[in-house]
Assembly symmetry: C2
Homo-oligomer: 157 residues x 2
Protein backbone atom coordinates (compact mmCIF):
# COMPACT_ATOMS: atom_id res chain seq x y z
CA UNK A 1 0.00 0.00 0.00
CA UNK A 2 1.38 3.41 -0.91
CA UNK A 3 0.22 7.00 -0.99
CA UNK A 4 -2.53 7.40 -3.60
CA UNK A 5 -3.89 3.87 -3.18
CA UNK A 6 -7.48 3.19 -2.23
CA UNK A 7 -7.88 0.94 0.80
CA UNK A 8 -8.54 -2.60 -0.46
CA UNK A 9 -12.12 -3.84 -0.34
CA UNK A 10 -11.72 -6.68 2.16
CA UNK A 11 -13.67 -7.87 5.18
CA UNK A 12 -12.39 -7.42 8.70
CA UNK A 13 -14.19 -7.81 12.04
CA UNK A 14 -14.92 -5.70 15.04
CA UNK A 15 -16.05 -6.90 18.49
CA UNK A 16 -16.81 -10.49 17.40
CA UNK A 17 -16.22 -12.72 14.36
CA UNK A 18 -19.80 -12.31 13.13
CA UNK A 19 -19.52 -8.54 12.86
CA UNK A 20 -18.09 -8.04 9.39
CA UNK A 21 -16.80 -4.70 8.18
CA UNK A 22 -15.62 -3.83 4.70
CA UNK A 23 -12.58 -1.76 5.51
CA UNK A 24 -12.85 0.40 2.36
CA UNK A 25 -16.48 1.24 3.14
CA UNK A 26 -15.65 1.80 6.80
CA UNK A 27 -13.13 4.56 6.03
CA UNK A 28 -14.92 6.13 3.03
CA UNK A 29 -17.06 8.61 5.04
CA UNK A 30 -14.16 10.11 7.01
CA UNK A 31 -12.48 13.18 5.53
CA UNK A 32 -9.37 12.39 7.53
CA UNK A 33 -8.62 9.21 9.45
CA UNK A 34 -5.67 7.30 10.83
CA UNK A 35 -5.19 3.56 10.48
CA UNK A 36 -2.25 1.99 12.22
CA UNK A 37 -1.22 -1.64 12.15
CA UNK A 38 0.59 -3.75 14.72
CA UNK A 39 2.17 -7.22 14.77
CA UNK A 40 0.05 -8.44 17.64
CA UNK A 41 -2.46 -7.66 20.35
CA UNK A 42 -0.95 -7.91 23.82
CA UNK A 43 2.65 -7.94 22.50
CA UNK A 44 4.91 -5.68 24.58
CA UNK A 45 5.74 -3.00 21.97
CA UNK A 46 2.19 -2.73 20.70
CA UNK A 47 0.65 -2.76 24.16
CA UNK A 48 2.98 -0.53 26.16
CA UNK A 49 4.07 1.95 23.47
CA UNK A 50 2.17 1.97 20.20
CA UNK A 51 -1.49 2.06 21.31
CA UNK A 52 -0.85 4.20 24.44
CA UNK A 53 0.85 6.81 22.24
CA UNK A 54 -2.29 7.25 20.18
CA UNK A 55 -4.39 7.51 23.32
CA UNK A 56 -2.05 10.05 24.94
CA UNK A 57 -2.04 12.17 21.77
CA UNK A 58 -5.74 11.66 21.09
CA UNK A 59 -6.76 15.29 21.67
CA UNK A 60 -3.90 16.66 19.57
CA UNK A 61 -4.76 14.29 16.73
CA UNK A 62 -8.46 15.19 16.86
CA UNK A 63 -7.59 18.90 16.85
CA UNK A 64 -5.94 18.34 13.48
CA UNK A 65 -9.24 17.22 12.02
CA UNK A 66 -8.82 13.46 12.29
CA UNK A 67 -12.32 11.98 12.55
CA UNK A 68 -11.43 8.35 13.19
CA UNK A 69 -8.47 6.44 14.60
CA UNK A 70 -8.35 2.67 14.10
CA UNK A 71 -5.81 -0.05 14.79
CA UNK A 72 -5.65 -3.36 12.92
CA UNK A 73 -3.90 -6.62 13.75
CA UNK A 74 -3.90 -10.22 12.58
CA UNK A 75 -5.76 -11.48 15.64
CA UNK A 76 -9.32 -12.67 16.00
CA UNK A 77 -12.10 -10.28 17.01
CA UNK A 78 -12.40 -11.64 20.56
CA UNK A 79 -8.70 -11.02 21.21
CA UNK A 80 -8.91 -7.53 19.71
CA UNK A 81 -11.96 -6.74 21.83
CA UNK A 82 -10.17 -7.95 24.98
CA UNK A 83 -7.20 -5.77 24.02
CA UNK A 84 -9.54 -2.81 23.54
CA UNK A 85 -11.10 -3.41 26.95
CA UNK A 86 -7.62 -3.57 28.49
CA UNK A 87 -7.21 0.18 27.82
CA UNK A 88 -10.61 1.21 29.16
CA UNK A 89 -10.59 4.07 26.65
CA UNK A 90 -14.03 3.64 25.15
CA UNK A 91 -14.31 4.27 21.44
CA UNK A 92 -11.34 6.59 21.05
CA UNK A 93 -9.68 3.91 18.94
CA UNK A 94 -11.56 1.33 16.86
CA UNK A 95 -9.96 -2.12 17.15
CA UNK A 96 -10.19 -4.02 13.87
CA UNK A 97 -9.44 -7.73 13.59
CA UNK A 98 -7.89 -9.22 10.45
CA UNK A 99 -8.01 -12.88 11.54
CA UNK A 100 -7.14 -14.43 8.18
CA UNK A 101 -4.60 -11.72 7.28
CA UNK A 102 -6.74 -10.79 4.28
CA UNK A 103 -6.29 -7.05 4.71
CA UNK A 104 -2.54 -7.11 5.29
CA UNK A 105 -2.02 -9.43 2.34
CA UNK A 106 -4.21 -7.31 0.03
CA UNK A 107 -2.32 -4.21 1.18
CA UNK A 108 1.10 -5.93 1.00
CA UNK A 109 1.72 -5.07 4.65
CA UNK A 110 2.33 -8.61 5.89
CA UNK A 111 5.43 -10.35 7.17
CA UNK A 112 6.21 -13.69 8.79
CA UNK A 113 6.31 -13.21 12.55
CA UNK A 114 7.26 -16.80 13.27
CA UNK A 115 7.07 -16.70 17.06
CA UNK A 116 3.56 -15.29 16.93
CA UNK A 117 2.42 -18.09 14.65
CA UNK A 118 2.92 -16.82 11.12
CA UNK A 119 1.61 -13.99 8.97
CA UNK A 120 1.14 -10.72 10.84
CA UNK A 121 0.90 -7.02 10.04
CA UNK A 122 4.01 -4.92 9.69
CA UNK A 123 3.89 -2.00 12.06
CA UNK A 124 2.65 0.99 10.06
CA UNK A 125 0.54 4.10 10.17
CA UNK A 126 -1.51 5.48 7.30
CA UNK A 127 -3.37 8.74 6.86
CA UNK A 128 -6.58 7.93 5.01
CA UNK A 129 -8.77 10.60 3.42
CA UNK A 130 -12.18 9.35 2.27
CA UNK A 131 -10.73 5.90 1.80
CA UNK A 132 -7.62 7.04 -0.08
CA UNK A 133 -4.22 6.58 1.56
CA UNK A 134 -2.48 9.94 1.42
CA UNK A 135 0.57 8.97 3.47
CA UNK A 136 1.91 5.72 4.87
CA UNK A 137 4.89 5.07 7.12
CA UNK A 138 5.97 1.45 7.50
CA UNK A 139 8.59 0.41 10.04
CA UNK A 140 11.55 -0.74 7.90
CA UNK A 141 12.30 -3.70 10.20
CA UNK A 142 8.57 -4.66 10.26
CA UNK A 143 8.09 -4.26 14.00
CA UNK A 144 10.19 -1.33 15.26
CA UNK A 145 8.73 1.60 17.15
CA UNK A 146 9.69 4.77 15.28
CA UNK A 147 8.00 6.29 12.23
CA UNK A 148 4.63 4.71 13.01
CA UNK A 149 4.26 6.21 16.49
CA UNK A 150 1.75 8.92 17.31
CA UNK A 151 4.31 11.69 17.98
CA UNK A 152 5.94 10.98 14.60
CA UNK A 153 2.73 11.10 12.59
CA UNK A 154 1.45 14.22 14.36
CA UNK A 155 3.86 16.32 12.31
CA UNK A 156 2.46 14.97 9.06
CA UNK A 157 -1.29 15.28 9.57
Amino acid sequence: MKAGDKLPSVTVNEKNPDHNINIAEFFAPYKKAILFGVPGAFTPGCTKTHVPGYLENYDKIKEKGVEKIAVISVNDAFVMQAWRDHYNSGDKITFLADPRAEFVKAADLHFNAGGLGGTRSKRFVAIVENGIVTRIDIEPDNSGLACSLAPAILGHI
Copy 2:
Protein backbone atom coordinates in the same frame (compact mmCIF):
# COMPACT_ATOMS: atom_id res chain seq x y z
CA MET B 1 -5.08 -38.51 20.32
CA LYS B 2 -6.67 -41.37 22.22
CA ALA B 3 -6.26 -43.19 25.52
CA GLY B 4 -2.92 -44.98 25.58
CA ASP B 5 -1.13 -42.46 23.36
CA LYS B 6 1.97 -40.62 24.47
CA LEU B 7 1.73 -36.86 24.19
CA PRO B 8 3.45 -35.83 20.94
CA SER B 9 6.94 -34.36 21.24
CA VAL B 10 6.25 -30.86 19.93
CA THR B 11 7.22 -27.37 21.00
CA VAL B 12 4.75 -24.98 22.56
CA ASN B 13 5.33 -21.68 24.40
CA GLU B 14 4.57 -20.24 27.77
CA LYS B 15 4.63 -16.56 28.76
CA ASN B 16 6.42 -15.36 25.60
CA PRO B 17 7.34 -16.75 22.17
CA ASP B 18 10.98 -17.27 23.18
CA HIS B 19 10.09 -19.60 26.03
CA ASN B 20 9.87 -22.98 24.35
CA ILE B 21 8.47 -26.03 26.06
CA ASN B 22 8.41 -29.58 24.76
CA ILE B 23 4.94 -30.63 25.77
CA ALA B 24 5.85 -34.33 26.18
CA GLU B 25 8.77 -33.45 28.47
CA PHE B 26 6.64 -30.91 30.35
CA PHE B 27 4.06 -33.52 31.38
CA ALA B 28 6.41 -36.49 31.89
CA PRO B 29 7.21 -35.79 35.58
CA TYR B 30 3.58 -35.54 36.72
CA LYS B 31 1.96 -38.74 37.96
CA LYS B 32 -1.43 -37.28 37.17
CA ALA B 33 -2.17 -34.12 35.18
CA ILE B 34 -4.99 -32.52 33.25
CA LEU B 35 -4.58 -30.87 29.87
CA PHE B 36 -7.58 -29.15 28.38
CA GLY B 37 -7.79 -27.44 25.02
CA VAL B 38 -9.94 -24.55 23.87
CA PRO B 39 -10.76 -22.93 20.51
CA GLY B 40 -9.57 -19.51 21.55
CA ALA B 41 -8.34 -17.24 24.31
CA PHE B 42 -10.87 -14.55 25.21
CA THR B 43 -13.70 -16.31 23.32
CA PRO B 44 -16.95 -16.29 25.35
CA GLY B 45 -17.33 -20.03 26.04
CA CYS B 46 -13.68 -20.53 26.89
CA THR B 47 -13.46 -17.38 29.01
CA LYS B 48 -16.72 -17.41 30.94
CA THR B 49 -17.27 -21.17 31.36
CA HIS B 50 -14.41 -23.48 30.53
CA VAL B 51 -11.44 -21.92 32.36
CA PRO B 52 -13.51 -20.66 35.33
CA GLY B 53 -14.83 -24.20 35.87
CA TYR B 54 -11.31 -25.52 36.36
CA LEU B 55 -10.51 -22.68 38.75
CA GLU B 56 -13.71 -23.19 40.75
CA ASN B 57 -13.04 -26.92 41.00
CA TYR B 58 -9.30 -26.49 41.56
CA ASP B 59 -9.26 -27.78 45.15
CA LYS B 60 -11.44 -30.79 44.32
CA ILE B 61 -9.20 -31.67 41.37
CA LYS B 62 -6.03 -31.35 43.44
CA GLU B 63 -7.55 -33.53 46.17
CA LYS B 64 -7.79 -36.31 43.58
CA GLY B 65 -4.04 -36.24 43.13
CA VAL B 66 -3.79 -34.07 40.05
CA GLU B 67 -0.38 -32.39 40.17
CA LYS B 68 -0.72 -30.06 37.19
CA ILE B 69 -3.54 -28.44 35.25
CA ALA B 70 -2.76 -26.83 31.90
CA VAL B 71 -4.81 -25.27 29.13
CA ILE B 72 -3.67 -25.04 25.51
CA SER B 73 -4.95 -22.93 22.62
CA VAL B 74 -3.84 -21.92 19.14
CA ASN B 75 -2.95 -18.38 20.16
CA ASP B 76 0.43 -16.75 20.58
CA ALA B 77 2.17 -16.69 23.96
CA PHE B 78 1.48 -13.00 24.59
CA VAL B 79 -2.25 -13.51 24.12
CA MET B 80 -2.22 -16.59 26.35
CA GLN B 81 -0.30 -14.71 29.02
CA ALA B 82 -2.80 -11.83 28.87
CA TRP B 83 -5.61 -14.36 29.19
CA ARG B 84 -3.87 -15.91 32.20
CA ASP B 85 -3.50 -12.49 33.82
CA HIS B 86 -7.20 -11.83 33.19
CA TYR B 87 -8.07 -14.49 35.81
CA ASN B 88 -5.61 -13.29 38.44
CA SER B 89 -5.31 -16.89 39.62
CA GLY B 90 -1.55 -17.22 39.76
CA ASP B 91 -0.13 -20.54 38.65
CA LYS B 92 -3.16 -22.68 39.35
CA ILE B 93 -3.45 -23.28 35.60
CA THR B 94 -0.51 -23.23 33.19
CA PHE B 95 -1.41 -21.42 29.96
CA LEU B 96 0.30 -23.03 26.97
CA ALA B 97 0.42 -21.38 23.55
CA ASP B 98 0.38 -23.45 20.35
CA PRO B 99 0.80 -20.54 17.90
CA ARG B 100 1.47 -22.60 14.78
CA ALA B 101 -1.08 -25.31 15.71
CA GLU B 102 1.75 -27.84 15.83
CA PHE B 103 0.47 -29.62 18.91
CA VAL B 104 -3.17 -29.83 17.84
CA LYS B 105 -2.19 -31.10 14.41
CA ALA B 106 0.22 -33.70 15.84
CA ALA B 107 -2.51 -34.81 18.25
CA ASP B 108 -5.26 -34.68 15.59
CA LEU B 109 -7.26 -32.29 17.75
CA HIS B 110 -7.56 -29.47 15.22
CA PHE B 111 -10.51 -28.07 13.33
CA ASN B 112 -11.13 -25.10 11.08
CA ALA B 113 -12.62 -22.30 13.17
CA GLY B 114 -13.08 -19.95 10.24
CA GLY B 115 -14.22 -16.87 12.13
CA LEU B 116 -11.22 -17.07 14.42
CA GLY B 117 -8.86 -17.19 11.47
CA GLY B 118 -8.35 -20.86 10.71
CA THR B 119 -6.93 -23.89 12.49
CA ARG B 120 -7.77 -24.05 16.18
CA SER B 121 -7.99 -26.66 18.91
CA LYS B 122 -11.13 -28.68 19.40
CA ARG B 123 -12.40 -28.31 22.93
CA PHE B 124 -11.14 -31.33 24.86
CA VAL B 125 -9.84 -32.52 28.18
CA ALA B 126 -7.23 -35.22 28.69
CA ILE B 127 -6.02 -36.99 31.80
CA VAL B 128 -2.26 -37.46 31.39
CA GLU B 129 -0.22 -39.77 33.60
CA ASN B 130 3.55 -39.41 33.22
CA GLY B 131 3.06 -38.19 29.68
CA ILE B 132 0.61 -40.93 28.66
CA VAL B 133 -2.97 -39.98 27.87
CA THR B 134 -5.18 -42.27 29.96
CA ARG B 135 -8.49 -40.64 29.06
CA ILE B 136 -9.57 -38.00 26.58
CA ASP B 137 -12.96 -36.38 26.06
CA ILE B 138 -13.38 -34.31 22.91
CA GLU B 139 -16.48 -32.18 22.33
CA PRO B 140 -18.23 -33.88 19.39
CA ASP B 141 -19.15 -30.53 17.79
CA ASN B 142 -15.57 -29.24 18.32
CA SER B 143 -16.49 -26.32 20.51
CA GLY B 144 -19.42 -27.27 22.78
CA LEU B 145 -19.30 -27.05 26.54
CA ALA B 146 -20.16 -30.47 27.93
CA CYS B 147 -17.83 -33.46 28.34
CA SER B 148 -14.70 -31.33 28.59
CA LEU B 149 -15.85 -29.22 31.54
CA ALA B 150 -14.35 -29.54 35.00
CA PRO B 151 -17.47 -30.99 36.69
CA ALA B 152 -17.67 -33.67 33.99
CA ILE B 153 -14.04 -34.76 34.26
CA LEU B 154 -14.09 -34.77 38.08
CA GLY B 155 -16.01 -38.06 38.03
CA HIS B 156 -13.32 -39.70 35.89
CA ILE B 157 -10.12 -38.73 37.68
